[in-house]
Symmetry: C2
């Protein structure tokens, strides 16, 4: 009996150790015994520059090359961090900062103008290992909204700030500040002016109103209207996922309109159990379907793979009348980049291989 | 053979008809044959006035009676609408408006003060039959944030507004406006002043800072700190669910801080397939767990009942260090009202029966 009891105990201890190693409780000693394990662990980054790319025939070779180069630069910045053992949060923030600083995308510099001609920026970031999150909406004078979102996550007990409080906090944190005009490029101002001219022609939306209206001029969804949101999702060598999204929102949006990009679970979500997700497109549909969280849910509770899960949610959005695109990376480093628009600026770089970028 | 084929066809048609009736495709002709069905359909409303109620011994009989009376008034306003065949959206809006107008709760009049001594209000509403949603954050001069959230849902192509844009839109919509002082009661100002005095004693948080800090005075979670959010969820006789939530946020919160109340999927969610949910408590945890949506997910994908699903999510929040409460009603009219604080102001009224209210 005693012998048998001892054996049972040994079995229990073995089971416990196995459980602890699976759950990561003893990952440090196990790592020390098998130093090569970490080198084989998958890692990678996926980015998008919005689902608003025009048809191929509408774009010059020069412009196409410019987008390719900037996407590669963003990917490589993130990928280099991951390759050197850095965190997925750092990789995501680095890639998005580069796209925010570029006038090519509707985020940071190059943002679309709202109803009264200002840039109002939204961003969020989420750490899949802890569910820690940071989000900002209605930023007007902080150069990199994604870094501000990260500061909210790391330096406050809150998750989200909106309106004037965002720039107040940025000032306290010593983050680079810019006048609102910094964000506004000639191209965006012209697109806004064309829309305002149409409004005047139609005499449907008096200038003293801040609201959009169902009878306002209809313009096709494109990068010009705000489908140029940027996002990045990454898996680091420690198996931690992170997601970040940054946007100028929609052209001619109401003052204070908040889309899905800064809403945790809607346009941005990361969970080490499943995947990291960033969305672009009709933000309102991404909010109503809790899109990014639903992708994680389909993987966790319905055993869908990352490709099926993202496509399922994009189809649901399409059924409701919405369009856009989604990027995701799962905990094994598998990626998905579906979109239902003519094109989506996108790319991925995995496990030390070359960067892949595409538009159509 | 021919006979057999015909039988198979009949069986197929019968199966198809059965499927159609289950999925509601032929519900109109079936309803016509059974006119009494609609009268037997369940309906009801559940409300909360926050998970911040003090221990029973700390409350006077008079105060307790005041809370009971106001909760009953809110319930009955919503229940009467439902009983007369009105919509769950109307019931939710009516109940919340009454609680917003009462100084007893941390929503509308009676809201807590932020870091600089202002009231900044958040609210959201969601229609479970269409997933249409409206949300506002950082409202300063609109009497009833829940009605403004509803206007965003019904009168714009957007889902969410934050900051100054909220009050601008309220003005356009002709919604009742008030100065910010209207929201601030003596009781809330005194709680804020006590905290500011403590800050000065500790000399930890200079007044020119808008941020909360980890070294700020610790005060126990209570209604005083902002656990007095209000919410309502309802099922109407047409089987449509709706959820609404309204709050002043957390005492001494950073300027522009957005909690879970206006975040669709976090503090508020409704889906005719499953349930309608409103949360109260540590909003940041409700955002990070996508709490309200997760309850719906557990019902849809894991066949949990509404009680198990709400308790599961509340336990997850507790594990992370958060506290609060949740109310929910499912598509059959079953309700759940769990909380992990000393008390939660709450009540429900179902199917024409009397109102039930409780605090502990």
């Amino acid at each position: 009996m005693h012998h048998c009891f001892a054996r049972t105990n040994l079995n229990s201890i073995f089971a416990l150790l196995l459980l602890m190693s699976i759950t990561g409780f003893v990952s440090v000693p196990l790592m020390a015994q098998t130093p090569n394990t970490s080198e084989k662990k998958p890692f990678g980054i996926v980015i998008h520059g919005g689902a608003g790319a025009p048809d191929k025939q509408q774009m010059t070779k020069e412009k196409e090359a410019e987008y390719h180069a900037k996407l590669k630069e963003a990917l490589q910045a993130g990928h280099t961090i991951l390759e050197r053992g850095g965190t997925s949060l750092d990789a995501v923030a680095a890639a998005i900062t580069i796209m925010e600083d570029s006038p090519l995308f509707n985020a940071g510099k190059g943002a679309v103008l709202n109803f009264v001609g200002h840039a109002e920026l939204d961003a969020s970031i989420m750490d899949g290992s802890t569910s820690a999150s940071g989000a900002v909406a209605g930023v007007k004078e902080t150069k990199n909204p994604i870094l501000l979102a990260r500061a909210v996550m790391e330096k406050t007990s809150h998750v989200m700030l909106a309106g004037e409080g965002t720039d107040l906090f940025a000032r306290e944190q010593g983050l680079p500040r810019v006048p609102n005009e910094y964000f506004i490029t000639d191209r965006r101002r012209e697109a806004w002016q064309r829309l305002k001219d149409k409004e005047k022609e139609n005499k449907t939306a008096p200038n003293n109103k801040t609201s959009d209206r169902s009878d306002a001029p209809q313009i096709p969804d494109s990068e010009e209207t705000g489908f140029g949101t940027v996002g990045a999702v990454a898996l680091d060598r420690d198996g931690n996922l992170a997601a970040g999204t940054s946007t100028g929102g929609r052209l001619n949006k109401m003052v204070g309109r908040v889309g899905d990009s800064p809403i945790i679970g809607a346009g941005n979500y990361a969970n080490n159990k499943t995947c990291a997700v960033s969305g672009t497109g009709h933000g309102e549909y991404f909010i109503r379907t809790v899109a990014a969280h639903t992708i994680s849910v389909l993987m966790e509770h319905r055993q869908r793979d990352v490709k099926t899960a993202t496509e399922t949610v994009l189809r649901e959005i399409e059924t409701m009348g919405g369009s856009g695109g989604i990027i995701a990376i799962d905990k094994e480093g598998r990626v998905a980049l579906p979109f239902n628009t003519p094109g989506m600026y996108r790319g991925y770089q995995l496990n030390g291989a070359e960067a892949n970028v595409a538009i159509w």
